[in-house]
């Protein structure tokens, strides 16, 4: 009887936690620790630990196309191994060979402002650039090159980028018209730093 009661209690706790947990796990790019999840969801860490395991089991039992995996001390959603061939086919299908306008613009900012942080790029473009930067990194057009004083990663263009534009070195990029006498100062204002 008391075991049943306890079960019911955990059940409802889990049901309350589950959707919020799923929402977070859907958007995180890096595995997220149980500690962080507990903080954000304002739940005891023990409940979280139980919930993620239960959710991972659920995904497996329901034969979902994705799975919840514990990697490097945190949790993240990955493609389930047996369905990887479909993803591979999708990727190979070549729907994504062309860069979007947003990606090209971001690439242009990196090219002319390198080394540069994401915060600064977002400031210049007026929109968050995280997603686009991921694409550029994945496509090997930009790369990390250390960090600035504030601890933000710095990015620069890669040799592949030069190759794509048919340039020998970054110095061969044509100077852009003097739009502003002091663009850096303006960037600073816009980036708010």
């Amino acid at each position: 009887m008391s075991a049943e009661l306890a079960d019911e209690k955990t059940s409802s706790a889990y049901e309350q936690l589950r959707p919020a947990l799923e929402a977070i796990l859907l958007v995180v790019d890096e595995p997220v620790t149980e500690q962080v999840l507990a903080q954000v969801l304002e739940a005891p860490q023990a409940d979280i630990s139980e919930a993620v395991v239960r959710l991972a089991d659920e995904y497996t039992q329901e034969q979902r196309g994705f799975e919840l995996r514990n990697v490097a001390g945190g949790w993240r959603i990955y493609t389930r191994e047996q369905y990887a061939p479909y993803v591979e086919r999708f990727v190979l299908d070549g729907q994504q060979t062309r860069l979007t306008q947003a990606a090209l613009e971001t690439l242009a900012v990196v090219a002319y402002r390198q080394p540069v942080t994401r915060a600064r790029i977002s400031g210049i473009r007026g929109v968050n650039c995280d997603g686009v930067m991921r694409t550029l990194l994945a496509r090997g057009l930009v790369e990390e090159c250390g960090s600035d004083n504030g601890g933000g990663y710095l990015y620069q263009t890669t040799p592949l980028f030069l190759e794509k534009l048919g340039l020998g070195s970054i110095n061969e990029l044509p100077p852009i018209a003097p739009l502003m006498p002091d663009t850096d100062a303006v960037d600073d204002v816009i980036a708010g730093d």
Binding site: A111, I124, I190
Partner: protein, 301 residues
């Protein structure tokens, strides 16, 4: 029968408070109407907007127009402002006042018998105004819906995480899809700072312009080309002030009888025709206050 049905539903639309109330603010319950006039006028969007607000404020049924009240308020408000009003507000006022007076004039006509062509034209104008007002109100309501949808969609976040490395490795080689020329253009555009939304204070230290000078420019161009459009005549203006100067100069030239205007539809292209012949006799152009002072004028000031 069908006609009377649609009449009923239409009447409900217009008189229902909620339907006319897209911009309800706490000030609306303020019994001191005139004081709140000022508040509302600082943020309304064009004459239709204000008209809608006024109609709501006075709980007016558009078909039972008691607009004389609104008109009186208006005139009183303008008087109160005395000499302190600015050009922007004044022109908006005039536009709305004209619209209201138009409505009022129509209202005063005996509605049973319409014989005069002019009466008919006035009635048609009123129909048109009602239709446009209702149309505007519909879009205003839709705008609210658009805002709600944007807000809701903004709270749903798409899955947008990096692809697992084993998949990215498979990706076909990326295509930039553009050459160096286009890339540089893109960079220029991307690096041109966006104007952060600010309250402009440019007018405080705006450079002064001379209506007389701009009249000379216009005269020169129009005698050469015969006719043009206001848009074309202002295409080289560097700021709003210069556009205003050109416009005032056009009015001055019109007063001198050397110009003709034609505008087919409201807010449409304004065509300007030169009718002053090609004599180069000097034309008297009034200068406006705030014009730059030239050397020969200085002594007289």
């Amino acid at each position: 029968m069908h006609g009377s049905n649609s009449q009923v539903s239409y009447g409900q639309h217009v008189t229902t408070e909620a339907a006319l109330e897209p911009t309800s603010t706490p000030e609306e319950t303020n019994p001191h109407r005139r004081a709140s006039f000022q508040v509302r006028l600082t943020n309304f969007e064009g004459p239709f907007d204000l008209l809608l607000q006024l109609i709501h404020q006075h709980k007016l049924d558009v078909t039972e127009v008691a607009l004389h009240q609104v008109t009186d308020d208006f005139i009183a408000h303008i008087r109160e402002l005395g000499s302190t009003w600015d050009l922007d507000q004044a022109t908006e006022f005039l536009l709305i006042a004209a619209t209201l007076l138009d409505l009022k004039a129509v209202r005063l006509l005996p509605s049973a018998e319409v014989e005069d062509e002019e009466d008919l034209a006035l009635l048609e104008a009123r129909d048109l105004l009602f239709a446009r007002l209702l149309q505007y109100r519909a879009y205003k309501q839709i705008a609210r819906l658009v805002a709600e949808k944007i807000a809701a969609a903004g709270r749903r976040y798409p899955r947008d995480v990096s692809m697992e490395p084993r998949f990215t490795e498979l990706m076909p080689e990326v295509l930039l899809g553009i050459g160096l020329d286009r890339f540089v253009l893109l960079a220029e555009r991307a690096l041109t700072p966006r104007q952060p939304p600010t309250v402009s204070i440019d007018h405080i230290h705006a450079s002064k312009v001379s209506v007389r000078e701009h009249a000379a420019i216009l005269r020169d161009r129009l005698t050469r080309n015969g006719n043009s459009t206001f848009r074309a005549l202002c295409s080289d203006c560097e700021n709003t002030l210069e556009v205003v100067a050109r416009f005032l100069a056009l009015l001055e030239l019109y007063r001198e009888g050397v110009l003709g205007f034609e505008q087919v539809e409201a807010l449409g292209e304004l065509h300007v025709r030169w009718v002053g012949g090609d004599s180069d006799e000097p034309i008297e152009i009034d200068e406006y206050s705030g014009s730059p002072v030239t050397d020969d004028e200085e002594s007289t000031l």
